[in-house]
């Protein structure tokens, strides 16, 4: 035998020899040795912490088909030489939701061979706006259209004391809204958005159409479309949805819509356009709706995990909802540490969700069959913000025929990175005893709010 092992055995035998009562102090109250601590018996003169042998791999079990293994199951006790009996896994006779294990993907009822690529609210796609444009067959133009911006320049469309009230709103969200020294980002961006919406809504007496709208929070969206041979879906919950009873008017004339068919979509070879999208094999086809989840339904979190199945959620705004047309979507930056979207990816998310809303509306109005030109294009707007910087998007859905790369494209006008103000410092920024940026609101830009107001009043003024 190995000398180490003999020493070890001797030592441990001596542990259990009459010396043991002197180790009583090491024993815990109920007489068992305290676990996970090396027991050092100082009465022994040799080393007790011997080398642990490496873990042995268990013997390989050979399965010979047709040969019945004689097990000790019948004898109800272990017999050396007989095989270990293998019993079928125990299953509960009744259904208990606490201990339910979902079947593997292949056995689910909605399993399909063809995978579906899902874009959810936590997706951060690699190529950003270009990839979103390819997926939605969109021509993205920089800058908003001038006739929209001129909408806010008219004096009847402006608030009384507009600049002062907006600056007060910013100061409220950035400075006054908390008992802590400084409100956190998700809090102030949310308050700022709600304050600005409140300011815009104060124009209701002069613009009665504003009253025919409603805000929906945490609404769920689902839209399905085919692009090439792949099936795509948008699913998710978003920030705010401003829906109205009347649809938005079309922005772009017929001529320009037909001209988009000459525009070629950007390709980003070698990266495939489906990169970063969640691939699932278990999905419900033809899901097209937008709306709130049914009451009492648990918050559906679409996770990045390897689970490649997606359970369908309940119906959206049911049948005769009085505000069926999506007017504007408002996007805020999520506080989820796992999905931090860079500005490019944030804009892509805006495009995708705007498109999803427009597509769900189109499917409802015109049916799910792809149509190359809608006689009445659907317009949806979107505003995204991080509390200081705004992104404005106007999307016009011209076609639902998205399978090929040619033909009429949808259009989007994207105004990127518009600042509302430069700094809103709680404490002044001092460098080398010089005040570089004073405390309080600095660098307010009134044009941004006029764009915000223009998008708000679009369709009402």
């Amino acid at each position: 035998m190995i000398p180490e092992a003999t020493r070890y055995l001797k030592a441990t035998v001596s542990l259990f020899s009459p010396n043991i009562f002197l180790n009583a102090s090491k024993l815990s109250a109920h007489g068992a040795p305290s676990s996970l601590q090396t027991r050092r018996n100082l009465r022994v003169s040799h080393c007790l912490a011997a080398k642990v042998p490496p873990p042995k791999k268990p013997r390989e079990k050979v399965e010979i088909p047709g040969l019945e293994m004689v097990t000790y199951g019948d004898r109800m006790h272990y017999v050396p030489g007989l095989a270990k009996p293998v019993y079928p896994p125990w299953e509960m006779s009744f259904k208990d939701p606490r201990y339910y294990r979902s079947p593997p993907a292949q056995e689910m009822a909605l399993y399909k061979d063809k995978p579906c690529y899902i874009f959810n609210q936590r997706t951060s796609i690699l190529e950003g706006v270009r990839q979103a444009a390819w997926l939605t067959k969109t021509q993205v133009s920089p800058g908003l259209l001038p006739h929209l911006i001129s909408l806010a320049a008219k004096p009847e469309n402006q608030l009384p004391d507009q600049d002062e009230r907006v600056q007060n709103a910013i100061k409220h969200s950035r400075f006054w809204d908390t008992t802590e020294p400084r409100p956190r980002k998700e809090r102030y961006s949310n308050t700022l958005l709600l304050n600005l919406l409140h300011l815009c809504a104060s124009l209701q007496p002069t613009h009665p159409a504003v009253g025919r709208r409603i805000l929906a929070e945490n609404y769920s969206l689902a839209a399905t479309w085919k692009r090439g041979e792949d099936l795509f879906q948008i699913r998710g919950r978003n920030g705010l949805l401003h829906c109205s009873m009347d649809p938005l008017p079309r922005i772009c004339g017929e001529q320009e819509v037909l001209e988009t068919s000459d525009w070629v979509l950007e390709s980003f070879y070698p990266v495939s356009p489906t990169i970063d999208l969640q691939q699932v094999s278990v999905y419900k086809e033809e899901m097209n709706y937008t709306g709130e989840s049914p009451p009492g339904f648990p918050e559906m979190e679409l996770s990045w995990s390897s689970s490649n199945h997606l359970s369908p959620i309940g119906s959206g705004f049911r049948g005769e909802y009085p505000y069926p047309h999506a007017h504007t979507l408002y996007f805020l930056e999520t506080s989820d540490p796992n999905c931090k979207l860079r500005p490019e990816q944030f804009r892509a998310k805006m495009i995708m969700f705007t498109f999803g809303n427009a597509l769900a509306r189109a499917h409802k109005l015109y049916g799910t069959q792809p149509q190359s030109l809608l006689e009445c294009p659907i317009t949806v707007q979107a505003v995204g913000t991080n509390g200081r910087i705004f992104q404005f998007l106007v999307f016009q859905l011209n076609t639902t025929d998205l399978s090929g790369d040619d033909g009429i494209k949808n259009q989007a006008w994207l105004d990127e990175d518009v600042e509302l103000y430069d700094f809103a410092k709680v404490r002044p920024f001092i460098k080398r005893k010089e005040v570089k940026v004073p405390a309080g609101l600095a660098g307010y830009k009134p044009e941004t709010f006029s764009k915000f107001l223009a998008l708000y009043l679009h369709g009402a003024a």
Binding site: L9, L15, F21, G31, P33, L126, Y269, V271, T274
Partner: protein, 298 residues
């Protein structure tokens, strides 16, 4: 098995107490009652330091590839028994492990056996190695690879497993089998068996040289001037590894070494033996990693 050992030991423990404290034996007997068997069972010893929580290597057992950095547990040079096996390792800045895919020729699930291209998304510093790593995206997946010297974000790099009759004029960063490259190219990330994944020439600034190609095998000179003979289907990337000035950096102070996780060596003066000093030896013989078919005696 460990549990049965423990229970046997505990049983013998509880049994031994009544035999020792003989004055209280009848009381103990009464207490333990009918559970006391007649004989004291001999118990084989066992180590009570079972797997300590600090010895866990769960972070290494992930099976699905991910580009997300993985939290690492530092070992401090300790092995599975808990004793120091390698001196001078410990402390240092916390690091997260970025799982580098060393098998460059890894096809996507449905696109086997076709040369493919990938785009470099970003090149960044990796705390776990001296070279820089690059995030490349191709098809539907993204992965980390060891970046070569002039790799920039936005480059397109090619990976091909095909050996043609004419040698390919390879660009830096592309990966080809050794048989497809012209003799004399600088290579890195060499794998010695096809499909194994690269294990050689991965450090910052290193490069091997393809010396000759001999019927079905190729001979590469490693940075240590050792020559190695491998099959010509082994994949290799072209160019030098990134971060070429790594060996010219100056640590500057003891603290910087501690940030890197290098503990000070023992300050005790020891007489240097035969191992020290400059040695001038002939190159070791060429190492061959080809499993030639055995010539049977019959």
């Amino acid at each position: 098995m460990a549990l049965s050992c423990l229970t046997r030991a505990l049983r013998s423990l509880t049994l031994s107490q009544p035999t020792l404290l003989s004055s209280q034996a009848p009381v103990a007997h009464l207490k333990l009652g009918a559970l006391v068997p007649s004989t004291v069972s001999q118990c084989r010893g066992f180590l009570i330091t079972a797997s300590l929580k600090q010895n866990r290597r769960n972070w290494k057992q992930m099976d699905k590839y991910t580009i997300r950095p993985i939290g690492m547990k530092k070992t401090g040079g300790r092995d599975h028994t808990g004793k120091i096996r390698t001196r001078g390792i410990g402390g240092g800045h916390k690091q997260r492990y970025r799982w580098v895919d060393f098998q460059r020729l890894r096809y996507e699930p449905n696109k086997e056996d076709q040369p493919f291209e990938e785009k470099v998304v970003e090149v960044r510093y990796d705390p776990c190695r001296s070279a820089d790593i690059a995030l490349i995206a191709g098809g539907n997946r993204k992965r980390w690879i060891i970046a070569t010297e002039k790799m920039q974000a936005g480059d397109i790099i090619k990976t091909s497993g095909v050996i043609e009759r004419m040698a390919v004029s390879a660009n830096e960063g592309d990966a080809y089998p050794l048989g497809a490259l012209p003799v004399g190219t600088l290579v890195n990330n060499l794998e010695i068996q096809p499909g194994r994944g690269s294990e050689y020439i991965r450090a910052a600034g290193t490069s091997g040289i393809l010396l000759r190609k001999v019927n079905g095998t190729a001979i590469v000179q490693l940075p240590s001037k050792q020559q190695v003979q491998v099959l010509e289907t082994c994949m290799v990337t072209v160019g030098r590894v990134s971060n070429i000035d790594h060996n010219k950096r100056i640590i500057g102070k003891a603290g910087r070494n501690r940030w890197l996780g290098i503990r000070p060596s023992s300050g005790l003066w020891k007489r240097k033996g035969g191992w020290a000093g400059r040695k001038i030896k002939p190159l070791p013989p060429m190492k061959s990693y080809i499993n030639l078919p055995l010539i049977s005696a019959n």
